[in-house]
């Protein structure tokens, strides 16, 4: 066991003496948390809506005000010379244009037919859909308030409730998922690079001729990175909680436990990669291709798994991040415990064990 300790000590010195990679390991997670927390924003809030008010009455202004006060729409700076809604969209000054023709006030008083126009920039399908449905809600609620006092609008009304993230903040969704991505990045990339480095500089032979078994080398090399990865995880959680206000509803201990299992899976992947390549450069690229990309793309981190084609959906079962992201979101946002997460947990453990077994076997074969 002390041999493992020596190898680990050697690896810690490697890390500490290369301040640049240490900076990457510590600063990158923080930077990425900020970047992802703010930049990935699929929120359909703050849609720029220009209003062309040709009616110019109290009612039309109230309708426009209702749109802007809802929090979904923003008033853009539109040059006053533009009065053609299509031109406004083309100029990029607004995402949608609401046209209030003359006669809204009259239509409201004597309940005559009247048509409001809404021109939407459809390039981003998602925002366009949201714009359409929000506008409908705005107009409906505006009308409801204008109905006579004793008149009840017949029909179904939805009383809605949002669980777990009632303010619908998208950073609450993305920041916890980021932990999975960063853990994968630190663990898989750094381990594959560290072993490739030994090979490249020729020190691997020296290590192997020393009275240490390959298994001890691997364990010793991997231990410091486990510590580093967990440190990163805690760092991100702290940032998520205190900067982005992400709630932590569940148990921290449970999360760290699963984090450990996930890191084991990621490290095994890193070792596997390092047995396949011989230079740091290739190790880096392979790690990016086989671990980070799937962790971002196929894990449900940004894009939902159920929307993917069937083949990719099946591939996603092999991505450890898929399970860990579910666990971490469950624990942090919903306060889930093992009784509901056992399914994901079992898959994660299974994947980690299989990957670790393959990695150890491959590494030994390579030596022989």
């Amino acid at each position: 066991m002390s041999k493992v300790g020596y190898i680990a000590q050697k690896e810690v010195r490697h890390i500490l003496r290369d301040p640049r990679s240490l900076m990457i390991a510590i600063l990158m997670p923080i930077l990425m948390t900020f970047l992802y927390g703010y930049a990935i924003n699929l929120d359909t809030k703050n849609i720029k809506l220009a209003v062309l008010d040709f009616d110019r009455t109290v009612d039309s202004r109230e309708l426009a005000g209702r749109f802007y006060n809802s929090g979904y729409f923003l008033k853009p700076q539109v040059s006053p010379v533009l009065s053609d809604p299509e031109k406004i969209l083309r100029s990029g000054q607004a995402h949608a244009v609401l046209v209030i023709r003359v006669g809204l006030a009259r239509a409201l008083t004597n309940f005559s037919e009247y048509e409001l126009g809404l021109l939407i920039d459809g390039a981003d399908a998602n925002v366009a859909a949201a714009t359409g449905s929000y506008s409908n809600i705005m107009v409906a609620s505006f009308l409801e308030d204008r109905m006579p006092y004793d008149f009840e609008v017949p029909g179904v009304r939805i009383s809605q409730q949002v669980l777990y993230n009632s303010n619908l903040e998208s950073s609450h969704f993305f920041v916890p998922g980021l932990i999975a991505v960063i853990l994968m990045m630190i663990s898989a990339m750094l381990t594959s690079v560290t072993i490739a480095r030994e090979k490249e500089t020729g020190t691997m032979e020296q290590l192997l001729t020393s009275p240490v078994t390959p298994r001890q080398i691997i364990i010793g090399k991997v231990l410091p990175y486990i510590a580093l990865a967990l440190l990163d995880a805690v760092l991100i959680i702290i940032f998520a909680m205190f900067h982005f206000g992400v709630p932590f509803a569940g148990s921290m201990l449970l999360l760290l436990f699963f984090g450990l299992i996930y890191v084991a899976a990621a490290l095994s992947l890193g070792i596997l990669i390092s047995t396949l390549v011989s230079t740091q450069q290739l190790a880096m690229m392979m790690a990016q291709l086989t671990t980070i990309l799937p962790s971002v793309m196929l894990s449900g981190y940004i894009f939902e798994i159920k929307n993917m084609p069937a083949v990719l959906r099946y591939v996603s079962y092999l991505v450890p991040a898929r399970y860990f992201i579910r666990i971490i979101r469950g624990v942090m946002l919903k306060g889930s415990d093992l009784s509901v997460l056992w399914h994901e947990a079992a898959f994660l453990v299974l994947l980690a064990v299989v990957l670790l077994a393959i990695a150890v076997k491959r590494f030994q074969l390579k030596i022989g």
């Binding site: 990029g92 390039a123 998602n126 409906a140 009304r157 990719l312």
Partner: protein, 366 residues
């Protein structure tokens, strides 16, 4: 200068072609990533699995549920567990929404009264939750108009421009191509110089009469070219019509060689508005990036301005009239686009950037 650069380019090509691992990476990475991104990167919100608790069990309530599940937005066949334990279903990810229809639903509707129903969504994914709520409201309004026969006199008519079918692929793929170009070419050119340093040939290059800018430009250019061609080829597998696009890629290649002039460094950064590059260049590239020229401007028949800017600019700028129909009737495509995000891509900024890179490189070498 020209000959130096050409010679260096040849060296760079030979180097890339002889490194099989590298070659495999250059080919595989963009294709792999583009396929992955092309298929995965949809932000569509559909198939929201919903558990329905219908306490009314009437013809009308069933019709309401049917009207919700029409149009593949809601999947109403989620397994239902006792209502008191409904939260457990959210935690186990069995469903993302719960719909509760109260007793007396059909009675109230038949008497033209209003009925409140419960709709609970999982807000974890803020984006899909808010869109789901929007869908539910729209469907309910349509149901109301159909069943009660009451429709408000004031209507909102909507029209979507540019992408009326609401296909998110059209929005994503051009952006993906830009993203891949940036990623791959930045990485490859960085690696080209690092590799020289690693195997010690950088010193050899430094003692030759080649000036540093030429060296950097060259590795940038050769690698960029590889990146460009491969990503434009694979960009089109995703959006069909492959053959036409392959021809386009070949043309693109030819043009690249044609406009390769010393001092014309903006070209390598995709500044298609540079006078030497001209608009043919930019049109071809836009043909490559945008499926079926769907985004051709109906007024002046111009393709989008800058595919690479798709990442940075608001969607309505898919084509930019401001830049085209501007003052003194300059030739379309010749003038630099103005304002906001375009500024970052102006040549003078690139000069600054390049100078900074060169300075950094010098300090490092001393």
């Amino acid at each position: 200068m020209v000959r130096t650069i050409l010679a260096l380019m040849k060296k760079e090509f030979l180097q890339v072609l002889r490194d099989h691992n590298m070659l495999r990476m250059i080919f595989m990475m963009p294709i792999f990533q583009l396929f992955l991104l092309g298929y995965v990167a949809t932000t569509d919100v559909k198939l929201i699995s919903t558990a329905v608790y219908d306490h009314d069990r009437s013809e009308l309530s069933r019709e309401y549920v049917r009207s919700l599940s029409a149009g593949e937005y809601f999947l109403t066949d989620a397994p239902s567990i006792p209502l008191l334990q409904a939260e457990r279903g959210f935690k186990e990810n069995l469903y993302e929404a719960v719909l509760i229809i109260p007793h007396g639903f059909s009675n109230d509707l038949e008497q033209s009264k209003s009925v409140d129903i419960g709709f609970v969504v999982d807000g974890t994914n803020a984006n899909s939750a808010s869109i789901a709520l929007g869908y539910a409201n729209v469907m309910t309004r349509q149901f109301n108009e159909r069943v009660t026969g009451f429709s408000p006199p004031i209507k909102l008519t909507q029209r979507k421009l540019f992408n009326p079918e609401g296909e998110s692929v059209y929005y994503m793929v051009p952006g993906i191509v830009a993203l891949l170009l940036t990623m791959i070419t930045a990485m490859l050119s960085a690696m080209a110089i690092v590799r020289e340093r690693e195997i010690g040939t950088l010193e050899q290059l430094m003692v030759t009469p080649i000036r540093t800018p030429a060296l950097i430009l060259d590795s940038v250019c050769a690698d960029r070219l590889c990146g460009d061609i491969f990503s434009s080829i694979c960009g089109n597998h995703v959006v069909q019509n492959t053959l036409c696009r392959l021809m386009g890629a070949a043309l693109f290649f030819g043009l690249f060689v044609f406009v390769h002039q010393p001092g014309n460094r903006h070209v390598y950064f995709h500044d298609f508005h540079h006078p030497a590059a001209g608009n043919v260049f930019h049109l071809v590239f836009c043909h490559l990036c945008h499926n079926d020229l769907r985004f051709l401007c109906p007024h002046c028949q111009h393709a989008p301005v800058h595919p690479i800017l798709d990442l940075l600019k608001p969607p309505a700028l898919l084509y930019d009239h401001g830049a085209r129909h501007n003052d003194e009737g300059s030739l379309p495509g010749r003038s630099l686009p103005r304002g906001n995000s375009h500024d970052y891509f102006r040549p003078r900024h690139l000069h600054l950037f390049l100078d900074a890179v060169l300075k950094a490189g010098k300090v490092e070498n001393q």
